[in-house]
Amino acid sequence: MPQRSRHTRIADDDLALFRRVSRSLQAPPVAVAAPAAPALVIAADASWDEVLDECVRQLGAIAAFIIDDRGLLVAGSGAMPLGTLEGTGARLVIAIHQADHMESAVGGARGITLEFDGQWLTGIRVPTESTPLTVGLFTEAPLDLEARRAVAEAFAPLSAGVA
């Protein structure tokens, strides 16, 4: 028989739950554990091609590429022919545009992830001063949120002057 508190005759188990949850909710909402090591380390003066090479190396990607908003390949790296990347990239851009129009979308789509047989294709939008660019990555496992953000941040300085 669980013990009861003196005033409200509430079960100790219940009280312990209320105590735990009310205390956890008092903590700052964003006070989460310290972040792990950065998902991607890129030199400040790296070029487009070098950033793509680092994505392939550090994220273990099969291939990485940049596509413009018309679906044209800007640069590519990794173990896939550029022609394949261009065709894939064009469809990826269309898919992201379609995602923008989903009824449940809040704001524009920032990216998209597609699963194939044993491969994942992730498209990440990188805003520029004019039309957005899309970074595409083929990987053997889905990229987590931190890695996707790291990719977007790595390309952001390079895209700042793109018109």
């Binding site: 409200t8 509430i10 219940d14 949850v21 009310s22 006070a31 972040p35």
Partner: protein, 269 residues
């Protein structure tokens, strides 16, 4: 930047609408620009102001696409306070309405388009932790949990705490528990005081201000006014809401400061 506070409770009849209305007014009188939004399909705020059911356009009209979001905002005679009433909603449409509110992004888009110029949005919610309340918690920065000072209400407070915890973990990481507000407190009754004592001693975040059980609430409801607008000198209960507004303001500032500190720590590490 607008801060949104959802007034919630797992139990009915605890005074959520009374708290929402009078707190919103007290905050407005302290100089905050406040929007009071009625997410309760019963339209509690409109009824508390003695308006006929469906007499005001508002949220339900926006959700149905009958009016633009900004057109649902109704100014009041207190220049700092505006209302977003429930709007015109037939009782048989309540299920569809709640489902529409619950759809991801719907409420966020409505507030983004209607809350410009307001520093605070106070969200009044229906009883229980159903779809309309969950929708409010998804877009809120803070939850203010009303706890009726009666043992039965205290025994079920875990339902609300667990839903808030879940929404914060899964749906809205911004959400925090601003505090637990004891309502309908009767200091002449041992069970009521027992709840206060247990809550203050066992739970985190129980506010210092409490809202008493008093006849003046029924009088205000009968006339359709917030307490502060009743004729005569301000009642002690109306002054409670001034105290509550001050405590809520300082808790919001404190929470913003804590979040900023956490952000700095994350960057440094």
């Amino acid at each position: 930047m607008t801060t949104r506070v959802a007034i919630v409770s797992q139990k009915g009849g605890v005074g959520k609408t009374t708290v929402a209305l009078n707190l919103a007014l007290a905050l407005a009188e302290r100089g905050q620009r406040v929007l009071l939004a009625d997410l309760d399909p019963q339209g509690g705020v409109g009824h508390a102001l003695a308006r006929s059911d469906g007499g005001l356009v508002g949220l339900a009209d926006i959700v149905a696409g009958r009016i633009a979001p900004a057109a649902g905002v109704l100014p009041t005679k207190q220049p700092n306070l505006s209302l977003l009433p429930r709007g015109r909603l037939a009782p048989i449409e309540v299920c569809d309405y709640e489902q529409a509110l619950f759809r991801p992004g719907v409420l966020e888009r409505i507030f983004a388009a209607s809350e410009g110029g307001f520093e605070l949005v106070v969200l009044d919610t229906p009883s229980g932790m159903g779809m309309a309340t969950r929708a409010a918690l998804r877009v809120a920065d803070h939850a203010l949990l009303a706890l009726q000072a009666e043992p039965a209400a205290f025994r079920t407070i875990g339902q609300a705490l667990q839903v808030i915890e879940h929404v914060r973990a899964v749906e809205n990481p911004r959400l925090g528990l601003l505090g637990i507000l004891a309502t309908m407190v009767d200091k002449s009754k041992d069970p009521s005081m027992g709840v206060l004592i247990d809550a203050w001693s066992e739970l985190a975040g129980v506010l210092e201000t409490t809202i008493p059980r008093a006849d003046v609430f029924a009088e205000a409801s009968q006339i359709g006014l917030p307490l502060g607008y009743l004729a005569g000198p301000p009642s002690p209960e109306a002054r409670r809401f001034e105290l509550l507004a001050g405590e809520v303001e300082s808790l919001i500032v404190q929470a913003a400061g804590a979040a900023a500190i956490a952000h700095v720590q994350r960057e440094l590490l």
